[in-house]
Symmetry: C2
Subunit: 193 residues, 2 copies
DNA sequence: CTCAGTTTTGAATACCCGTTCTAATTGCTG
DNA sequence: CAGCAATTAGAACGGGTATTCAAAACTGAG
């Protein structure tokens, strides 16, 4: 064999994600990325292809981590309504705790890159479907226990919640206040009655 | 006097808006703008300052047109619920009818430029407040006529609707389907009961 | 008809972009 | 320890970036 890598691929990908997340695709230069990742230009290109490909790798990594975390809440214990609240509170926490106020990387990517970048669009599309599915699982569970009005369409409710979550991801950029965001959630919970 | 301008300021500003709206701030080059506006570089700089300043002028122009249109619906005739629906349907129409799927310029600007560009942030902040105020007017009218549960907080309802509208502005990028968006609106209307 | 005042023109500025190249360095295998 | 193979370093590439400049073109007032 030959000389081994001096860096951990996941580790530097995480650092690149921070840059893209904060500055967007066009707002991040390769110079920014090289400095943040603390690896050489050539290593970057050898390992991650080009800027576009690196961006997608970051987006995928972010998506996987996030979706896994959300799925944990959905599969957790508690009533349907509690798990629904838990989902939102988790997201709100992430937004509010970030001193850089980067919001949601995927939401940012959507508004910057869709339409125009089919690869990003595809990933976002997948994310939306998965998020809807998470909500749907909760709704259907809640309808079985009687917590949620069984006359309502699980699909439409799931889409509503997904939209609401997307809205939070915009609003949080202007008003990153935990209490206000949780108030919003409480109002939105009324559609379940 | 001296030589007069060969172009109409509002007209070329509109063309610049299209570019920024479609490609974002960093995604638009001065070359793109010069070509789209069909004026000379120097004229552009003389009239609009620099790229950042032109961007803000576009954003302000878009904001004014949009807000004026929405205010028209709010001040129009019909029940509170009808006017609420009217507001959403107007926005949905705009999104769905656009072949470029640009979404909402201000939402795009928010996720690309906030935080980091204080001037954009300030304009977005103002827009959010104005939008909330529009919703609030409708809610309070509806509570007087008994269409809307008077026990609910007008402020919180207005914020909820604003968030919902923001959510639509993200979702529409992925699924620009009128029927689906109107379904979302109908679900969201349930919070008023 | 002159000429001051403005706009237009198109080139030029200096710098940053994403990407690639060559050469030097390194660690593992035989 | 020799030699292979991959990684590293840092310069170099052509082209694009936002912005400015000097000169030409133009309009209307005196």
């Amino acid at each position: 064999m030959a000389r081994p890598r001096e860096f951990d691929e996941q580790e530097v990908l995480q650092k690149a994600t921070e840059v893209f997340w904060k500055k967007g695709f066009h707002g991040s230069s390769m110079q920014d990325l090289v400095e943040a990742m603390d690896i050489n230009r050539a290593s970057l290109y050898d390992t991650f292809g080009n800027k576009q490909h690196l961006y997608l790798s970051c987006l995928k990594s972010y998506h996987d981590i996030n979706q896994h975390e959300l799925a944990g809440v959905v599969e957790g214990s508690g009533s349907a309504r509690d798990r629904l609240r838990g989902l939102f509170i988790l997201c709100i926490e992430r937004f509010v705790d970030d001193p850089d106020r980067k919001g949601c990387f995927i939401a940012n990517a959507t508004l910057e890159r869709v339409p125009g970048d089919p690869a990003t669009q595809q990933l976002v599309c997948k994310t939306v479907q998965e998020t809807e599915q998470l909500f749907r699982v909760i709704v259907e569970a809640g309808q079985q226990t009687g917590e949620i009005n069984p006359a309502l369409s699980p699909k439409e409710l799931a889409q509503f919640w997904t939209t609401m979550l997307a809205g939070l991801r915009v609003v949080v950029k202007i008003n990153p206040d935990r209490a206000a965001l949780e108030d919003l959630m409480r109002v939105a919970m009324r559609v379940l009655d």
